[in-house]
Symmetry: C2
Subunit: 302 residues, 2 copies
Amino acid sequence: MKLHILGCHSATPRSVAFPSAQVLETGNELLLIDAGEGMQIQLRKYKHKFNKIKYIFISHLHGDHFYGLVGFLSTLRLIGREKEMHIFAPEGLKKLTELQFQITQTDINYPLFFHELTRTESELILDTDKFSVTTIPLKHRLYTNGFLIKEKPALRKLNIEAVKRYPEIETWAYHNLKRGKDFIREDGSRIPNDELTLPPPPVKSYAYCSDTAYNPSIIPLIKEVDLLYHEATFLEKDKHLAEKTKHSTARQAAQIAKEADVKQLVLGHFSSRYPDERIFIEEAKEIFDKVDIAQEGKMFEF
Amino acid sequence: MKLHILGCHSATPRSVAFPSAQVLETGNELLLIDAGEGMQIQLRKYKHKFNKIKYIFISHLHGDHFYGLVGFLSTLRLIGREKEMHIFAPEGLKKLTELQFQITQTDINYPLFFHELTRTESELILDTDKFSVTTIPLKHRLYTNGFLIKEKPALRKLNIEAVKRYPEIETWAYHNLKRGKDFIREDGSRIPNDELTLPPPPVKSYAYCSDTAYNPSIIPLIKEVDLLYHEATFLEKDKHLAEKTKHSTARQAAQIAKEADVKQLVLGHFSSRYPDERIFIEEAKEIFDKVDIAQEGKMFEF
């Protein structure tokens, strides 16, 4: 998986900073997670192909997480999109987007589906051959979900040396071997699969948690993920602001990462009150060592 | 007046290019004209004070001219705006913006006024001590206005040498002289104003015309303006596309500028099909010599 940060700042930017939006590359898909204003400008800047995006996930309906969506959907029409687009978002966004299309006299001529989210318990919202997406219920000032994206195991790899030892295994049998099946000879005897193949690369998982107050109830859901993006709008010295606005501090995000035993933590959604974001790392490192910060344009491969 | 281009591209940007938005500085006011997506990012980039903007003019309800508005209005709330904001825009934008505020649970706590435009004839929509704003009815695929901004004459300047020749003129009388009044002595005799003062600097005017098909009926409205911004989405070789989409070519914009005898023409709203925008100047120059092109970040002082 590759996570590419398009924007990672909270809603009061006083310097040049794009609000929340990121793309996750898994297999041949590009998943768009949140769509802050200017997101399509960022997609172009970093040369992502618009047409590779088929699924969009919106965490919650604060403007800094979705005001870039409607412009992107309109641009897709202008560039002649044909394939379908699926948007997973809290209830309300469909109505708003449809009013925008109506007022701007925009006729969306590609198949556009809204999947409106309303449940307050974790649910499986997308299940493809390659990956699944589950919601992570968060605690914020209005209905908010994080998203857990989990790859599915790829095919096993042929152990060519081992296979060659058995001339009776012809190439037409390879696909079943990759799928984990034993080889069965004409006489009914078997060669066990694990003698002929190697396990596939391990599956990866990614959890996106923004925006949220400190919420340990998500820990079982995100247990041992490869990468956790967790919001850290504030530092611990401004914890009262985090409580008031239902955001997290860097220390709290690190605490969640530690208890969930994740492999890597990325902090984001910084308030503009802090001129130097490296201090978020310092604060988090006191609790959890494998921590980095999101920055516009930064790529995380895992 | 100073015109500052924040974005000047049409709605299918394939490279990094911001859609229509610009600020006009007149006196101590900053007028925002159109508000394409990313406009607030551009305002910050070029260090414009958000609080100096009190009037916003939206030409028409295509997304590339107003999708940056709602994020800007939300940011103003977050940074504690208190003074009023007036938005002049076609009918529909108020309803849409209010739905956005409702869905995002945004409580706009500064005075926000929408002045919805519906008339198809030119009308005076704002009249202050310093300037007036009149609509310029344009021809586009949906209801569209350009805007004519005209400064009002400043006070006359005292001709100090002349004033000093009359010891009876005390300083308390200066303000009336600047306002163009004659000086009246105690015996009722007069000194004519034009003997004592010099005319104020000439008033400036600016016309914004985007988006529009070739429309000579606007010529009397924009006669002799100091600066005309006119859209030129296409070149003459693609005139059939201009006709179909109700846009103008560079040559047509130049024709309007020539017939209106404007002092300077600035072209903008370029389609992304043309890799080099200098060719717009070349085409326009065949008709009208004082022509330049809009570019992100470019400033025009006049």
